[in-house]
């Protein structure tokens, strides 16, 4: 039946149509009764045909009323049990019942042996009875679908069960004359229906979710509805000749009993609801508080996630903290080292807060940089003088962390009240939750900014790395010279180059700026310019290094120096001149193996005269093909997992051994082999300094190949 109704209701016009039909049927019934009883002067039960016609018309109009109610209220089952829904149900029911009672008492009532004698009476009877049934059926329906069965399964089943019991009750009232058994069954059914209503209303948890004031209002409204139900039932029971009862009986046989039974059930329901509301009152404050806490925390989190600056986050926090704890003022204190800032005042002027804060601090009431929550329940106990001077009588101070680039800023959320013991344990706990949320939010904000900053720096370093690579000679510069630089970080302080001296001879230079990373990399870039500028005016490695030292001495920072080795290959490839400025020893692989460490101090540490005195050029005559290996200390100091250094002598020894087995390897092969030895020793341990290796092969049989 419900499925059929739902289908019919799909169009949305079922309610209107059935209402019109109900009214039309009632009008027809009024006309029939007027003609038969008033004009004809007959009793209703005198003619079985008329009686059946009136019964059919009455039942049909009631059925239409029920269908109209269904189409109006069937969607209410899906509505939330909001305060306004429940409240309108209670008040609406009470007011409507009382209106029906008033209407029935003032309506024209002219009967003669149960027969209406005027048209006015006939109309009144029908209006009252239709109103009554509409009201009772509508209210019953609403109670079941909205208040009882909301958002639960089996709503329709519950309605059917209740409807069936009520219909059985009605049937019993119609056949009361059969005997005492029916009367007993009727009482039993009424009890069953009441119990069923109680079962349906066994756990009205929704009552608990309302605020205290709404619960109290709801209690009054439930009492009002209960009062109306009681008055209604009492009227129906005590005055069998009243207009209300007579009207109901004129509609159908036993028509007065059904509304009374529904009235009894509504009394049961309202008593139960009243008890439920009363029972929910004692813990109402706790429920209110919890709800406020959850709502404020959720709102705070939402606001914070939308806030862009620390100040706006703090403003939000002080507002919420003050509102939820019903405090009389709040502010935040940020301490970074010795600097203290008071910010985000709420409800109190900043100047007043500053004065008061310093008074509190001076009075040693709380520790300004503590990590613990401070609760001052009664200022009177701590500092009577302060308590008299300021409005602050109790306060809670909660610390929180604000991460920043330099140092973590310590923050404090201060919430004050103008009454002693203004904060409960729950308030303190909530403020702690606020501070935790704040710490997390500021941490997230900081990490977000730090990530952006890191990305920016990384991009700059990438640019520096590419620029530095461009400063080094291209691979395979010549068949005579090959080199490689592997920075320990993205940017390194090592440098090597191949160039021409003033006389057009080939020069090779390797340099290691003290330190590593971006700072060393910047010096390395400077170095390139200095080397190339001086090279074309210098006639030998010794002179070049002296000039470089002269230029860089005043330029480099005090603690920065550069170790270098420079060599010069003569036109005929028969002579190589080498000068070493504090650099790693030089390996010469030819007919014999030689490690050269000519005297010389690093560039940038001594005045030109001292530097020149310390520097000694060495020259080696090239008879057969010779390979000269230059490297930085990053290669010789490569360590393995046991922190053992490779060492220059071990590196040179292994390289010499390999070289003796090769037949004049190319410079690239020498570089690769050197790197292999370094890496083999390292066993996967990354180099802790920049590694640069340069190999120069000098063959007197071949002329300058650069």
């Amino acid at each position: 039946m419900f499925a059929l109704l739902r289908q019919l209701n799909a169009g949305g016009t079922l309610g209107v149509t059935s209402t019109i039909v109900a009214v039309a049927l009632s009008v027809m019934r009024i006309v029939v009764m007027w003609l038969w009883c008033v004009v004809g002067g007959n009793g209703v039960t005198q003619n079985i045909g008329i009686e059946v016609l009136l019964v059919i018309l009455g039942y049909a109009s009631l059925a239409c009323v029920f269908v109209a109610l269904y189409s109006r209220f069937s969607h209410h089952g899906k509505q939330a049990l909001s305060y306004s829904n429940i409240s309108s149900l209670f008040v609406g029911f009470a007011v409507a019942i009382l209106l029906v009672l008033v209407a029935s008492s003032v309506a024209p009532a002219s009967f003669e042996h149960g027969r209406p004698t005027t048209l006015g009476t006939v109309v009144s009877v029908h209006v009252i009875i239709l109103l009554l049934h509409t009201l009772l059926a509508g209210v019953s329906w609403w109670i079941v679908t909205v208040a009882i069965a909301n958002k639960r399964q089996g709503t329709h089943t519950k309605i059917r069960v209740l409807t069936t019991i009520v219909l059985l009750l009605w049937l019993c009232t119609m056949i009361q004359e059969v005997g005492i058994v029916v009367a007993v069954i009727e009482v039993i059914l009424l009890v069953v229906a009441s119990v069923y209503v109680l079962i349906l209303l066994r756990n009205p948890v929704w009552v608990q979710s309302f605020t205290v004031d709404k619960k109290i209002r709801l209690l009054w409204q439930a009492c009002f509805a209960l009062f109306a139900s009681v008055v209604f039932c009492a009227t129906m029971a005590s005055e069998p000749t009243s207009m209300l009862v007579t009207s109901a009986e004129l509609l159908m046989k036993g028509g007065a009993t059904l509304p009374m039974h529904v009235g009894v059930l509504s009394i049961v329901a309202f008593v139960r609801l009243t008890i439920a509301i009363i029972a929910a009152l004692p813990n109402a404050a706790v429920v209110d508080r919890k709800r406020d806490e959850v709502q404020s925390l959720a709102a705070l989190t939402r606001q914070i996630s939308q806030a862009t600056t620390l100040e706006s986050i703090l403003n939000t926090v002080t507002v919420y903290a003050s509102t939820v704890t019903k405090a009389h003022g709040a502010w935040c204190v940020l301490r970074n080292g010795s600097q203290t800032t008071i910010t985000s005042p709420y409800l109190l002027p900043l100047t007043y807060i500053e004065r008061m804060y310093h008074q509190l601090l001076a009075a040693d009431v709380f520790v300004a940089n503590g990590n613990e929550i401070t609760v001052i329940d009664a200022m009177q106990d701590h500092q009577p003088l302060l308590a008299e001077q300021s409005i602050v009588q109790s306060a809670v101070i909660v610390p929180f962390n604000v991460p920043s680039k330099s140092k973590n800023t310590q923050g404090m959320l201060v919430v004050v009240s103008s009454v002693p013991f203004g904060f409960e344990a729950e308030d303190v706990r909530l403020l702690q939750a606020f501070a935790d949320t704040l710490s997390v939010a500021t941490e997230q904000e900081y990490l977000h900014k730090a990530a952006i900053e890191h990305e920016r720096v990384q991009k700059e370093v990438d640019v520096a790395m590419h620029m530095q690579r461009a400063l080094l000679p291209k691979e395979e510069t010549s068949r005579q010279v090959n080199g490689i630089t592997i920075p320990a970080a993205q940017v390194g302080g090592d440098y090597f180059d191949v160039f021409r001296f003033a006389d057009g001879t080939t020069g090779v230079i390797i340099a290691d700026v003290a330190g590593k990373g971006v700072a060393a990399g910047l010096y390395m870039a400077t170095l390139k310019g200095v080397v190339l500028a001086h090279a074309e005016h210098s006639v030998g490695p010794g002179q070049l290094l002296q000039r470089i030292n002269q230029t860089l001495l005043g330029v480099l920072e005090r603690h920065v120096y550069v170790s270098m080795t420079c060599l010069n290959i003569s036109h005929s490839n028969s002579r190589v001149t080498i000068a070493r400025a504090g650099h790693t020893p030089i390996l010469v692989l030819g007919s014999t193996t030689e490690v050269l460490t000519p005297p010389g101090m690093a560039v940038g540490i001594a005045k030109p005269a001292v530097f020149a005195d310390s520097l000694t050029e060495v020259a080696i005559e090239i008879g057969a093909t010779t390979c000269i290996v230059l490297c930085t200390d990053g290669a010789t100091e490569q360590r393995n997992s046991r922190l053992e250094e490779l060492g220059a002598s071990a590196l040179f020894q292994q390289l010499a051994q390999w070289y003796s087995q090769c037949n004049h390897p190319r410079p690239k092969d020498v570089v690769t082999q050197t790197l292999n030895i370094v890496r083999t020793h390292g066993q996967g341990v990354p180099p802790h300094d920049d590694v640069t290796i340069v190999a120069v092969v000098v063959d007197p049989k071949q002329l300058d190949q650069l």
Binding site: Y561, G582, E645
Partner: protein, 119 residues
């Protein structure tokens, strides 16, 4: 990461600084802070004892470069002593011994200062 500890004792106007462990770019700051404290406090002779230093990097050497001029401008000096061969060779290769005086023991360094110290 290896650690570096720096301790110092001052007798008359001679500060004896013991550098222990592993002196690289990360740990050089410790030495720098300690030496800065000594140099800025008052003018002193500095004797740096390397007996228990296992490694020194270019950044570690740079620290001595940082203060040598200040110390010498007050008529004092930085004396380096008791180096392990590995540490010695680093100083030697860079030609630092042209700039800094080296003594095999701290006693020898102190003895060299005796004529200059107030009686």
């Amino acid at each position: 990461m290896e650690a570096c500890t720096v301790t110092s004792t001052i007798t008359d106007n001679v500060a004896l600084v013991h550098v222990v462990g592993y002196l690289d770019a990360q740990t050089a700051q410790t030495l720098e802070d300690q030496l800065r404290g000594l140099v800025e406090q008052r003018s002193l002779w500095l004797i740096v004892d390397f007996e228990h230093l296992d490694y020194i990097s270019s950044a570690g050497l740079g620290v001595f470069m940082m203060f040598i001029e200040d110390v010498r401008s007050h008529g004092h000096d930085i004396l380096l002593t008791s180096m392990k061969p590995a540490v010695y060779s680093v100083f030697d290769l860079l030609g630092f011994f042209v700039l800094f005086s080296y003594f095999p023991t701290t006693e020898a360094a102190l003895n060299s200062l005796l004529p200059t110290l107030p009686r």
